[in-house]
């Protein structure tokens, strides 16, 4: 009886240490990115706090080389853009592009559009080269664009 109990206890400890080990072995320093995003969705008016918290994650992640999570520079850049700081936004889009080859197409578009918007307000939305507004039928939105 006591042996069984001991065995179960040990099993739990082993499983716990493994789970803890798995959780801490992350490739990137995400900080509380998921909670920050969720807080922003739960309370969209609080955009200043969102920008500030994203900035903190970037700052902490940048300390270690290759630890900045994919998408984070761009996410922060877009928050800066929404806060009316397009120059800084472009700086972070460029950082994203430099760090992640996979982001090149998207970042090039965003940089171009943000620059255009900055020089010539009002202009197209920052995603201006993306599909036109949704049509009447679902799926028509993207199909409308010429090849």
């Amino acid at each position: 009886m006591a042996g069984d109990r001991l065995r179960i206890l040990l099993l739990v400890i082993v499983a716990a240490s493994c789970a803890a080990g798995c959780a801490s072995k992350r490739a990137y320093l995400w900080g509380d990115y998921d909670s920050v995003l969720y807080s922003h969705y739960a309370n969209p008016q609080d955009s200043e706090r969102y920008l500030e918290r994203l900035g903190q994650i970037v700052q902490k992640a940048e300390v270690e080389k290759d630890k900045v999570p994919p998408g984070l520079y761009a996410e922060y850049g877009y928050a800066l853009f929404e806060a009316g700081r397009p120059d800084e936004a472009i700086t972070y889009y460029k950082k994203e592009r430099e760090e992640w080859e996979e982001s090149r197409v998207f970042m090039d578009k965003m940089i171009r559009n943000t620059q255009r918007l900055k020089e010539n307000r009002p202009g197209p939305a920052p995603g201006g080269e993306l599909p036109p507004p949704a049509g009447t039928t679902p799926g028509a939105a993207l199909a409308g664009e010429a090849k």
């Binding site: 490739a27 994919p70 761009a74 996410e75």
Partner: protein
């Protein structure tokens, strides 16, 4: 005594491995291997429940597990806002749009579509039963074909085990217990648990991406 001390944790670890290995039948990863995506565009989540907070919360929990799996994951909120600016604020429209075109516009290799099928808290006399259920579909940007899909239902009720009953699942459930209170269930741990199981379970999960150390070693990943 010393031998026993060594043996028990070893046995525990073995059982744990067995629990993981005895997972559902293996998937066919042929299409995934052919597509061999490097980047994943996670688009806004379709909500088939009445809970208005569910899609935002669930979208928030997706980038971390996908990125950690070894893929470039596009900035989810930025993508969501850009799509909204283009008139695609309804996730249903995004999900029914042409995958190839969507990928071209963002320069993405693939798209991950997630829909929420259940997101409920059932209040009973002594406890609260919380159910979350998700559909995950990943499509290739070049062909538009589905290259991976998975369905996950997590039911949590105190005094009752959720998941497959493996030691790890029980343990996670125990951790979740603290978060799920009768007054206001916190879905965040449940969403994280569902994602972790769906994405990381060997043989059925998302194969490791090019930026992962496991790339090419697990079924479906690599060329």
């Amino acid at each position: 005594m010393s031998r026993r001390r060594l043996l028990l944790p070893l046995l525990g670890f073995l059982l744990l491995c067995l629990g993981c290995a005895a997972a559902p039948p293996k998937k066919d990863y042929t299409a995934f291997r052919a597509a061999n995506p490097r980047s994943i565009l996670v688009v806004p989540v379709v909500n088939n429940t009445t809970n208005v907070e569910a899609p935002g919360l669930f979208l928030s929990t997706l980038p971390i597990p996908v990125g950690e799996r070894g893929y470039y994951v596009f900035p989810v909120n930025m993508v969501k806002r850009v799509l909204e600016d283009e008139g695609l604020s309804d996730p249903n429209l995004v999900h029914t749009a042409d995958t190839g075109r969507l990928c071209n516009l963002f320069g993405a290799d693939s798209v991950l579509y997630v829909s929420i099928e259940a997101w409920t808290a059932q209040y009973m006399v002594f406890s609260t039963q919380v159910t979350v259920e998700f559909d995950y579909v990943m499509k290739d940007g070049k062909t538009g074909d589905t290259i991976w899909k998975e369905h996950k239902r997590v039911v949590y009720a105190p005094q009752q085990q959720s998941g497959g009953g493996s030691p790890l699942a029980s343990l996670v459930a125990a951790a979740v217990q603290a978060a799920v209170t009768k007054a206001a269930p916190n879905y965040m741990p449940l969403a994280r648990q569902a994602n972790a199981e769906v994405i990381n379970t060997p043989g059925v999960g998302l194969p490791a991406g090019p930026r992962s150390k496991e790339y090419g070693k697990d079924p479906g990943s690599g060329k």
